[in-house]
């Protein structure tokens, strides 16, 4: 059975590569590229794009017929799998590229603030409705909640403080506490970091100080990513370079341009059990880092340094 790729993520080799099947899901299969520490993902979807994605679209195929550990190889633009009749024609497929680094969101704009507030409200509503481990509103109630909550909350606050001050080493120390932390195949801490980077990239524009911070922090993060699983690592690798899934990048654009925010939030929240919600949490927090003097200020006065008290609860000021 030969299928034509509908699109290819920018990071997918075009013509020739060797790989091993790393993991298999119902509608996605991860391939570990030979001699490289990253994955490419063949996924069945009508619209979901990934920087590392080879997107195919069919209703009649389960990728579970493929077996982890077996080889896959592309020659002349045709991807084939050992012991499987499936082949994917990569030739001529359009290349999808995430546009987050071009967004240059202005967080002082009332349109953006409105979009952010809508997204925040929907995110929290969904998290409460689904009884997920993390609810963004409660994340910074540092004296309450589970150990996981407290670790996440404190580390995120430290990360925010460091990013505000463009302190790369401090940001890396905070990120180290988040890497691989929490439930899920891509642990919550990783998803939050990926979303956080999407928020920073969305606001960087051409600002050299911001871009310098993101590049340095991203390089450190790629080192830290060895402490988490391969799937997370691949997403973090692309996030460091400003490349994210279409659901996350569409949401970032929707907030920045004030269009279709509600539907894009819903799309982004529907990734996995909680991965989508965790990465949207990261995105929305990331968008608030360099927003001064925007009235958006979702963080308590203390920044995880022990100074926060009961008066410093999570506050969300919007216009």
């Amino acid at each position: 059975m030969r299928l034509r790729a509908v699109s290819l993520g920018e990071a997918v080799p075009r013509e020739t590569f060797d790989a091993e099947i790393q993991s298999v899901f119902e509608s996605a299969v991860n391939l570990r590229l030979a001699k490289e520490d990253r994955l490419v993902t063949v996924l069945i979807s009508d619209q979901y794009e990934l920087p590392q994605g080879i997107r195919i679209w069919t209703k009649d195929l389960s990728l579970r017929t493929l077996t982890p550990g077996l080889r896959a190889a592309a020659r002349g633009g045709i991807l084939r799998f050992d012991s499987s009749p499936l082949a994917v024609d990569l030739r001529g497929a359009p290349v999808w590229k995430c546009r987050v680094p071009q967004i240059a969101a202005d967080m002082r704009s009332s349109v953006v603030i409105q979009g952010w507030s809508t997204a925040w409200e929907l995110l929290n509503g969904q998290q409460r409705l689904k009884h997920t481990d993390i609810v963004a509103d409660d994340l910074f109630q540092l004296d309450a909640g589970s150990l996981l909550y407290q670790r996440l909350g404190r580390s995120i606050l430290q990360l925010v403080s460091a990013a505000e001050e463009f302190a790369v080493q401090a940001a890396t120390r905070a990120a180290e506490k988040l890497i691989g932390l929490g439930p899920g195949v891509t642990p919550s801490g990783d998803d939050i970091l990926i979303g956080f980077l999407a928020g920073l990239w969305s606001m960087a524009g051409q600002d050299p100080v911001r871009l310098s911070f993101i590049h340095s922090f991203g390089a450190d993060l790629m080192q830290l990513a060895r402490q988490t699983g391969e799937i997370s690592r691949t997403y973090l690798y692309h996030a460091a370079q400003g490349q994210f899934s279409s659901r996350l990048s569409n949401l970032a654009e929707a907030i920045a341009y004030g269009k279709h925010v509600e539907s894009m939030v819903r799309e982004a929240l529907r990734v996995g059990h909680s991965s989508g919600m965790d990465s949207v949490t990261g995105l929305l927090i990331g968008l608030c880092v360099w927003n001064n003097p925007s009235p958006l200020h979702p963080f308590p006065a203390g920044r995880g340094d022990g100074s926060e008290g009961k008066d410093h609860l999570w506050q969300l000021h919007t216009v």
Binding site: E26, Y48, V185, Q227, S263, H273, S274
Partner: protein, 510 residues
Amino acid sequence: MIKNLYRDSVSLMQFSEKLRALEGIAQASAVMATENNIGLLVEAGLLASAVPPSPNDLLIVVAGRDEASTGAALDSAEAMLTAKAADAGDGGVRRVIPRSIQMGLESMPSANLALISTPGEYAAAEARKALQFGLHVMMFSDNVSMEEEIPLKQYARAHDLFVMGPDCGTAIINGIPLGFANVVRRGNIGVVAASGTGLQQVTSLIDRFGAGITQAIGTGGHDLKSEVGGITMLQGIEALAKDKATRVILLVSKPPSPDVMWNVLDKASKSKKPVVVEFIGADPQTITGGNIHGVKTLEDAARAAVLLSKGRALKRFSNALPAKYKSLVKPAQKKLKKGQKYIRGLFSGGTFCYETVLLLRESLGSVYSNTPIKKEEKIPDVWKSQEHTVIDLGDDLFTQGRPHPMIDFRLRNERIVQEAKNPETAVILLDIVLGYGSNMDPAGELVPAIRQARKIAAKAKRTIVFIGSVCGTDSDPQNLSRQEARLREAGVILTDSNAQAARLAAAIVS
């Protein structure tokens, strides 16, 4: 620790829940064996000491009453994750049939519509949940009060979502038939209808006339009442106006409340697309103007939409019986005895029944029905016909404790036989509805009853004229052509539409 084992996060969550439910287990967790997760588990007291991290492996931790319980839990965890059960599509984690909207969404995260078909008392709560999850809703359920319907629709509108229904029997979204719906070709006509069988009739006829539809949105029967304000119909018009694939919009409903009608027509006039409006029973001339084209029957609505969709000018549709049916009138009349003078309409579709009553009244005067046009024409005993009688067998009165007559033909078949015994019966008028949800062989159900009715009449030296129309397409599971052929074989005169069947019946008894 299980090496190189990847499960999607939904499966991992279900797996952890299963472990927690085991006898003697207080806590269970399945996480990736990263340094930070191990540290967290040590701090929480779930691991006695740190183990070497291995981020690509799955770490399963259980805390329980005693070693026997935890040992058994770990054994079953490993068995669940490593063994591929025969019916497990998820590598050993058994697929759970969704028992809630949330579970459904987890197994199908890209879904954006929930179809609610529960007893009425639970439907509103389920619809609310679905909306909160960001899903559009089709409420197939009936018996939902307007007090419940209104806030649901208001919430949906505020969040750019649709609530189709309650009591929405039919919709076709992105080519997918929902509820009772026909398999029709895709095209450039968008439909919004407050009537299930009305929607089926226009979409089937559009298909028969060689065109197709983009979306067919059901609103539910209450939508155009003043209290609800036509929320779904207005949303539907707006959505179709924005939809690039839709060239023509077609609206179907009984006449709305006057205030709602004004809003609907106002919205339609602003759509900048041709809009065909069939407010069944309303005078088309009072509706027509600008881009809005009022029509009188469901068939005219389909014809008008098809003409406009092909860029052709609209013609005025005639109320007269087409020539191909006129030739059938005299031969049928010759078969009738002197005392046979009444029509007995036995309908499964509410809108077909209503349209028939309207058309028969134009030439025959009073028509008795359980859905009468005038109060004084309400039939006193629904089980017994008098003069011209047209019955909607889908009325709640007939469906309590039994399936809808589109599915279960027993009640209609009994009534056919009953009408055949009546010496005043001249014509038995029927609708036959195909498509998903309906009986898989309506002709097979009806023909024995028709034959029995003929025998009864023949014994009394009478002949009964059977007239009907089949609503459906050749792509429907029942196949229109096959169903029509079998009904014609049984002597049923078939017309292309419900309106033509009513007009032919009226011409025969006039």
